[in-house]
């Protein structure tokens, strides 16, 4: 439980720190608005030429967009800042500061940063999701809500595992600047039903970069498409991925000799 206490402390610290820069809130708001309008325009454009895309109606795809924005917000708020800091720290030799502390190093490097203004994306994602959900004809009750919440957590953990593996590669390859751009580009695949992609791409964005689990599966839960097998698969995959990521992190760490000192 020490890990939870440490995370909470860092979170409070991060929030206080970010609260100093209030204008950034308006910058985030503006950027979220632009991203949202763009997403809606694209959706309107696509559905002006077709009634449904691979069996998904416009309102259902609005739910997908909502989940994608929501998850994107969470990633940019908490996961990505920590992982890019990890990459930078390895390069600059500052990682030693984290390693010498008497706490699990993986916990430390995963909770040090928080960008609270990105919460704007989470809110905007929730609004899109609510609007989409209100137009969907399928029933939405407590079981769907529970499945949605659970799959969302699995998705977030999977994205974290993916990022931890990528960031750990920095122990060997210092030149990881484009990792963020690469991820942001691929993350956009989540805006559309995963079924439209060719097999190689579908498999890649399901197991290699777990976007399908992070966005499509929660969206399926919302629109009553999710079967329990998929949810079990998500759970098993999350556990396996977490174990692999942790092993890889420790392996990378054991190869790390420090840069300063």
């Amino acid at each position: 439980m020490n890990a939870v206490r440490v995370s909470w402390l860092f979170l409070k610290l991060g929030v206080l720190n970010e609260l100093q820069y209030r204008v950034n809130f308006f910058v985030s708001l503006m950027q979220a608005a632009i991203a949202l309008v763009t997403g809606l325009v694209v959706l309107a454009l696509v559905y002006s030429h077709t009634e449904e895309l691979n069996g998904w109606s416009k309102s259902e795809l609005l739910c997908v967009l909502g989940v994608q924005i929501l998850m994107g917000g969470a990633i940019k708020m908490y996961i990505q800042p920590n992982m890019t800091r990890l990459i930078e720290d390895v390069r600059d030799g500052k990682l030693d500061f984290a390693l010498t502390k008497p706490e699990d190093a993986q916990v430390l490097v995963s909770v040090r940063e928080v960008r609270i203004w990105q919460a704007v994306d989470i809110v905007s994602g929730l609004i899109v999701l609510a609007v989409g959900l209100s137009r969907v004809t399928t029933s939405f009750g407590p079981p769907e809500a529970a499945a949605f919440a659970v799959s969302l957590v699995f998705g977030a953990v999977l994205i974290y595992c993916f990022w931890l593996v990528i960031a750990t590669v920095a122990f060997w390859v210092v030149n990881m600047w484009h990792a963020v751009e690469l991820f942001d580009g691929i993350f956009q695949t989540g805006r559309w039903p995963i079924g439209i992609y060719p097999t190689w791409l579908r498999v890649s964005v399901t197991f290699l970069v777990p976007i399908a689990f992070a966005v499509t599966v929660p969206a399926e839960a919302l629109t009553s498409r999710l079967d329990w097998q998929t949810l079990v698969l998500a759970a098993v995959f999350t556990v396996v991925a977490f174990a692999i990521a942790r092993w890889f992190w420790r392996y990378g760490l054991s190869k790390y000799s420090g840069a300063s000192a």
Binding site: V27, M30, Q31, V42, H49, E52, D184, Q188
Partner: protein
């Protein structure tokens, strides 16, 4: 009367030394950027996610509707979005956000000490970089062609036009972005405006979809804006079915927008540089 014979050779010498500056800067850029080819490759790979997504979405719709959307076939979409990747690359220029960096970090002070405008160095350096990117792009285009099966059968005139038009696109976008960058002399919060600009550009340039898929009123508006001439036109010149007259017309409109952009930049630069006072150094 006496000034004319003197100014002609001086003018000729000026042009020659300008060409020299351009060529050496571009050569330096080629040598320098080629060192970072692995990094550039990752960048290119990240970039293809965007067109591949658009391509898959529109191909799906085309397939659902018996093969085409408003007369555009799956093969057309494949060709469009594969050529897209190169044109998008040519559209990456010394952008407005870099002006903010250049001013903040004091790099501008150094640039101002040089005998010619920073604009010239920017154009020449990125032009050299583009050569590297085109070479790196070729295998990616080949790979995408294997996967997505584009229908592409350009006439020689279309190939020639395309080869010119991608550089026209590069210059149009350079002029517009550099002009926009002048805002940084007045405000440190240009980012919001740049984002807005990028969104308008995304929708009206043909980056999102081939323009015929847009509503008619959007197409009408975008005809009178520069964006599509830096994006849709170069792609369409190779992929589409434009007549020779339309090809020449397109190149002339490109030229027009380059000159308009240059004029805007010159006016903006003149008043911007008057406001500037160097800090540190």
């Amino acid at each position: 009367m006496t000034t004319v014979p003197q100014s002609v050779p001086r003018e000729a010498g000026r042009i020659r030394s300008m060409v020299d500056i351009y060529l050496s800067t571009a050569r330096m850029a080629i040598a320098s950027e080629f060192q970072y080819r692995t990094g550039h490759y990752f960048f290119l790979l990240g970039m293809i996610a965007e067109p591949v997504i658009y391509l898959v979405v529109w191909t799906t719709i085309a397939d659902q509707q018996g093969g085409e959307v408003q007369g555009l076939t799956a093969g057309y979409f494949a060709a469009y979005y594969i050529v897209w990747t190169l044109v998008r690359n040519m559209n990456i220029v010394f952008g407005a956000p870099y002006w903010e960096y250049r001013i903040r970090e004091g790099d501008l002070n150094r640039d101002l000490l040089r005998p010619v405008l920073p604009l010239h160095y920017d154009i020449a350096w990125f032009a050299g970089w583009k050569v590297v990117m085109i070479v790196l792009w070729l295998p990616i285009a080949f790979g995408l062609s294997l996967v997505f099966d584009p229908s592409l059968s350009p006439r020689p005139a279309e190939i020639v036009t395309f080869a010119i038009a991608i550089w026209g696109a590069y210059l149009i976008r350079t002029m517009l972005q550099e002009s926009l960058g002048m805002l940084c002399f007045w405000t440190t919060r240009g980012a919001a405006i740049f984002d807005l600009y990028m969104t308008v550009e995304l929708l009206l340039s043909g980056r999102l979809v081939p323009l015929p898929l847009m509503p008619d009123w959007v197409q009408e508006i975008s005809r009178f804006l520069p964006f599509q001439w830096a994006f849709y036109f170069p792609i369409e010149s190779l992929v589409g079915d434009l007549s020779n007259q339309e090809l020449v017309q397109g190149l002339l409109i490109q030229l027009l927008w380059i000159l308009i952009g240059l004029a805007i930049f010159k006016v903006a630069w003149r008043s911007a540089i008057k406001r500037y006072s160097a800090v540190g150094g």
